[in-house]
């Protein structure tokens, strides 16, 4: 295991050090004292484990493909943005736009998520132990978003094929979002995902509501003008 102590080092120096260590074949890196710096651990493409022992700032673990990145405290805006594959685990809360536009992999948030969680997801899985804020899953195209606590306003607005599950209450559904009863298969998947990633969660798969697209916005139909007026 390799250790990096941030001290007064710049973000660039820390990221270069991470790359240098990965190039030596080391698989585990602990970064001490990240101090909520921005842009840490971006575009890591190797299957390594990196633990940030503290808080990270904006865009942590963005554009990654393959690593497991853990954050001991909170993360700022744009966590794991556009990640291709890998795991991102945050023990605290996250800022706006976490897991936006991810294509694969898993993002696990033990605390709460702020606004625009998982917008425009194109794959992958997002699991939040706490609650999520405004406009989560907006225009989600694929993948699965699970919120064990409550969801904020405009939840799952203008959805394509992302599947959402909410354990608590939903403050307001977005346009064209509809609530369904989860299937037996869904419940089984939820139970196994929760036991793998959030074993401390009190939620059971059968307590979740399922939210999917009503598909009314997928094709324009002038007979449904009212729906469009509302959506736009």
């Amino acid at each position: 295991m390799a250790e990096i102590v941030c001290g007064n080092r710049s973000t660039r120096e820390i990221n270069e050090e991470i790359r240098r260590i990965i190039a030596t074949g080391e698989h585990e890196i602990v970064v001490q004292g990240p101090g909520a710096r921005h842009n840490l651990g971006v575009a890591v493409l190797a299957p390594v484990r990196i633990r940030f022992a503290g808080s990270v700032g904006y865009y942590c673990a963005g554009l990654i493909d393959g690593p497991r990145i853990e954050v001991d405290e909170s993360a700022g805006w744009g966590l794991a943005e556009s990640m291709m594959n890998g795991e991102v685990i945050v023990r605290g809360s996250v800022g706006n736009g976490a897991a936006a536009a991810i294509r694969g992999g898993t993002v696990v948030i033990h605390g709460d998520a702020a606004a625009r969680l998982g917008v425009s997801m194109k794959g992958g899985t997002v699991l939040v132990a706490g609650s999520c804020g405004y406009m989560a899953a907006f225009m989600g195209q694929k993948g699965t978003l699970v919120v064990c606590g409550d969801a904020g306003d405009a939840f799952a607005d203008s959805l394509y094929e992302t599947t959402c599950f909410v354990g608590g209450s939903i403050r307001g559904l977005g346009t064209d979002a509809i609530v369904e009863r989860p299937s037996q298969q869904d419940v089984g998947w939820l139970d196994s995902a929760l036991s793998q990633y959030l074993p401390g969660s009190q939620r059971r798969g059968n307590e979740f509501k399922k939210v999917v697209a009503g598909r009314k916005l997928w094709n324009f139909d002038k007979r449904e003008w009212k729906v469009w007026q509302e959506a736009l």
Binding site: G35, R37, S74, W77, S93, D112, A114
Partner: protein, 301 residues
């Protein structure tokens, strides 16, 4: 961009407030290289207001300060007059007619502006970095209960001392605001207030936040209620902090377009645009979270 910070000490009336505010601002210096400023709430002055006057952005500050001092010596109730760099500071007796005093001072010289008035509030701001603000005014030495700070990246109005933040709402003692964002119905609101006779000192859209909040408070609303009305009446993207003699609070716009994070411990509350500000100013174990859309919080002493 801009960076805003707020710090609220829970225990002592004489806590370190200048240091955490300036340290948080330093970490946000890159968000706003144009200007830096703080609004600090120090010890209450018994039956007196602290008045801070801008002498000018530069030029012959010495002769302007002589002019102001000579004038103030003729005004009853004014005492403890001092000057430092761009500012004069004095105490005005609690019975002073603030409107008359303001008019008297500001008529003396076109550069003069009363930047803050309050039993406890003092605003210090200037163009340049937080480091320069500290070098000129040693704000880190200030003790008190709470304070605000701002680093500015100007997007829509000029860069000078008056257009810097925090803003005091002229005429309303002990109310200061800092704002990160844009008020998109600023011109509409400004016209409405100007028709009622309110004078705007700048073209900075943040000034209207101070004027709006003072208007609500005058009508008897609490700071919490004023923020609730602000969400309804002010359009745009904003994270805004406001402080009165006994309170500090924030509001985040209805679309969560601007960042704002907060932490609360048994000893203090810290609010800032980015977590890096809080972590670099306050060591220790605490958790930080982003404010939710339309969230309002007010802490009261």
């Amino acid at each position: 961009m801009c960076g805003i910070v707020g710090f609220f000490a829970k225990g002592s009336q004489q806590a370190e407030i200048g240091r955490p505010v300036i340290d948080m601002l330093r970490a946000l210096g890159c968000r706003g290289p144009d200007s830096a400023g703080v609004a600090l709430f120090g010890s209450p002055n018994d039956n007196a207001f602290v008045v801070r006057v801008k002498l000018g952005d530069g030029g012959d500050l010495g002769s302007r300060s002589h002019k102001l001092v000579a004038y103030l010596e003729t005004v009853t109730g004014c005492s403890h007059i001092s000057t430092n760099a761009s500012y004069a500071r004095f105490l005005a007796n609690g019975e002073t007619d603030l409107l008359r005093l303001t008019a008297g001072v500001e008529e003396l010289d076109e550069d003069f502006e009363i930047v803050s008035v309050g039993r406890r509030l003092e605003i210090v701001k200037q163009t340049g970095s937080p480091d320069n603000l500290e070098k000129t005014y040693s704000v880190s030495r200030s003790m008190g209960t709470h304070g605000l700070g701002h680093t500015r990246l100007s997007t829509e109005s000029r860069v000078d001392l008056s257009h810097s933040q925090p803003f005091w709402s002229h005429g309303y003692p002990d109310l200061a605001i800092v704002h990160n964002g844009h008020i998109t119905n600023y011109h509409q609101l400004r016209r409405m207030y100007e028709q009622r006779g309110t004078r705007f000192y700048t073209e900075n859209d943040s000034e209207v936040v101070a004027i709006y909040l003072a208007d609500q408070l005058r009508q008897g609303a609490s700071l919490q209620e004023s923020f609730e009305r602000m969400l309804r009446d002010l359009d745009g993207s904003y994270s805004c902090l406001a402080a009165t003699e006994q309170q500090l609070g924030f509001v985040k716009d209805a679309f969560a377009l601007k960042p704002l994070v907060m932490t609360e411990t048994t000893d203090f509350v810290a609010v800032a645009t980015e977590e890096i500000a809080i972590r670099s100013a306050m060591p220790g174990l605490y958790s930080v979270r982003e404010a939710q859309v339309g969230e309002i919080r007010v802490w009261q002493r």
